[in-house]
């Protein structure tokens, strides 16, 4: 263990080429062990969803399928039952898409305007509102959900798609506003002042200068919002009606309903299907995902 300090920083002479030093075995061994822990559930989901029920009853949940079948996937997507509806998770998937698109667009649009006003058009009290907003991110949702039900009912939006869009916009606002405010603060004031001199106003500068420059941060915001809204359960179950339940709610209803024989392969196929959208976003976006959560986490 004593020679590992030599490998820390900056080369001193040629590096030793031995691959199986004690240090390497320790470092890679630990990493691999943890990698197994993190990957195992994904593996179990995939193999279970590809087995038939007889094989599941006989075999080992970790072993790969002997006979690969896609029947559980088909059933999870188009036949699995929740209550009286037996049209599968596809209903929840399309509901989630219907919720996701307007929620993402509206929440990012409003948050970007907030961030722009907070960084370039400060007015009396604007910092106070921002402070309340950021503190609000720490308030447990549970204390606000019921009064929001009343407000939505008064507005005639309770149970509707747009009510849920509004809720996602509100609860996404702290982190999104923070993201845009920090980004716009980094844009030089000279640019902003030059546009003012040319006679551009609040909206003119926002649309012609700020928005085109904020593409990178919009992508980061989209990654955060898409995964967040897709994974939401609580708001979906409170603020929508059963025919508009998002995929997570429907998934839970399918798997945890007590009626009939449990079909674990269908359940795992359904679970995997629900996790697929955020997983695809995660693996495509790569470093941007990390940047998003870092921006949200460290500064928040």
């Amino acid at each position: 263990m004593t020679d590992e300090t030599n490998l820390v920083d900056g080369p001193r002479g040629p590096k030793p080429k031995r691959a199986f030093t004690r240090r390497n075995i320790f470092v890679y061994g630990t990493l691999l062990l943890f990698a197994v822990y993190y990957l195992l559930p994904l593996w179990v989901m995939v193999v279970t969803s590809l087995k038939g029920m007889p094989e599941i009853r006989m075999g080992n949940i970790f072993s790969p399928p002997v006979e690969v079948t896609f029947q559980p996937w088909v059933k999870a997507w188009s036949e699995a039952c929740t209550g009286i509806n037996c049209d599968g998770l596809s209903r929840g998937f399309w509901n989630s898409i219907k919720i996701l698109i307007p929620s993402t667009i509206v929440s990012i649009l409003i948050a970007s305007i907030n961030g722009y006003a907070l960084s370039k058009w400060r007015f009396k009290g604007s910092e106070t509102f921002f402070a309340i907003l950021v503190l609000g991110a720490f308030i447990p949702y549970q204390i606000m959900i019921y009064p929001i039900v009343i407000l939505l009912r008064e507005a005639g939006l309770y149970g509707s798609l747009w009510g849920l869009v509004l809720v996602h916009t509100i609860f996404g606002m702290p982190i999104m506003t923070l993201l845009f405010r920090n980004y716009f603060t980094g844009i030089p004031d000279e640019l902003f002042k030059a546009a003012r001199v040319d006679g551009a106003g609040f909206w003119g500068i926002f649309i012609k200068i700020m928005l085109p420059m904020s593409l990178p941060i919009i992508v980061v915001a989209m990654i955060l919002q898409i995964t967040g809204i897709w994974n939401d359960f609580l708001f979906g179950v409170i603020y929508t009606k059963p025919d508009l339940y998002p995929m997570t709610v429907q998934l839970n209803n399918i798997v945890n309903s007590v009626q009939g024989v449990k079909e674990y392969n269908v359940n795992m196929a359904a679970t995997l299907l629900t996790g697929l959208v955020p997983l695809v976003i995660y693996f495509i976006s790569g470093k941007l995902f990390v940047r998003g959560i870092a921006a949200g986490a460290v500064k928040g």
Binding site: V27, T30, I143, I148, F202, I293, A294
Partner: protein, 287 residues
Amino acid sequence: MKNLNAKIASIPMIFTALVIFVGCTAWTIYHSFTNSRLLPNNNWVGFDQYERLWDTKRWIVSVGNLAIYGVCSLVISVIIGFVLAALLDRKIRFEGVFRSIFLFPFALSFIVTGLVWQWILNPEFGVQKVLQSLGWENVTFDPLYNPDLVIYGILIAGIWQGSGLIMCVMLAGLRGIDGDIWKATRVDGIKTWKTYIFVIIPMMKPVFVTALVLIASGIIKVYDLVLAQTSGGPGIASEVPAKYVYDKMFNAQNLGQGFAASTMMLVSVAIVLIPWAYLQFGGKKND
């Protein structure tokens, strides 16, 4: 009027800050002192709801579970997060691959997380059966069906989902440490693990605090994970406060209890948050 457009554009933000975050919170706190049941009312009953709340076994179990879950997941997430980050920071190969593997569960929802671990921990088909078929016939490993252990079964899933985030925060912190520190300790012949414990960790105090606040603010919200994995069972053994609130408000038609319980959740967040905010502001003033 100066900045009129900016003010108009900020109406959604002002509305959210004042009406939702301040107004709705105050509304619930106020109504937690009433005997609201199916509908909210204004019949003031003082601390009755709170007395009843702390007399309810299910609430006590919920708070106990949250305390166990909270303390364990704070300690374990920070340790795992730091160890993984330190290992990844050792200029290793395939760093990106390992990092992607450790972080991917964070992209998944608690529902998905809960359902997968419910399946893995299923005593009839899961880990217990595999162990038994390997020869340990008397081994029992069914945390989700054992009232004393169920919260640890949920903990395994929670750690799986969230520790990658802490690793990311820690890694960012480690990368921010001046390389000269490492050179200096190397010149002095200090062992690597000693450098981590006595030099690096004390330097990373703000990062640790951030990680703790992150985990703590997530813990209080634990709801979907429990719902998916155990639905609060067996019996009431894995109930949590957020689930108590939801059930009282939307299933049991006992709004007053729901309001009182959610106010208690806010109080516990404040207890964690106020010292932290104080430290943050105090630190900045001293600089």
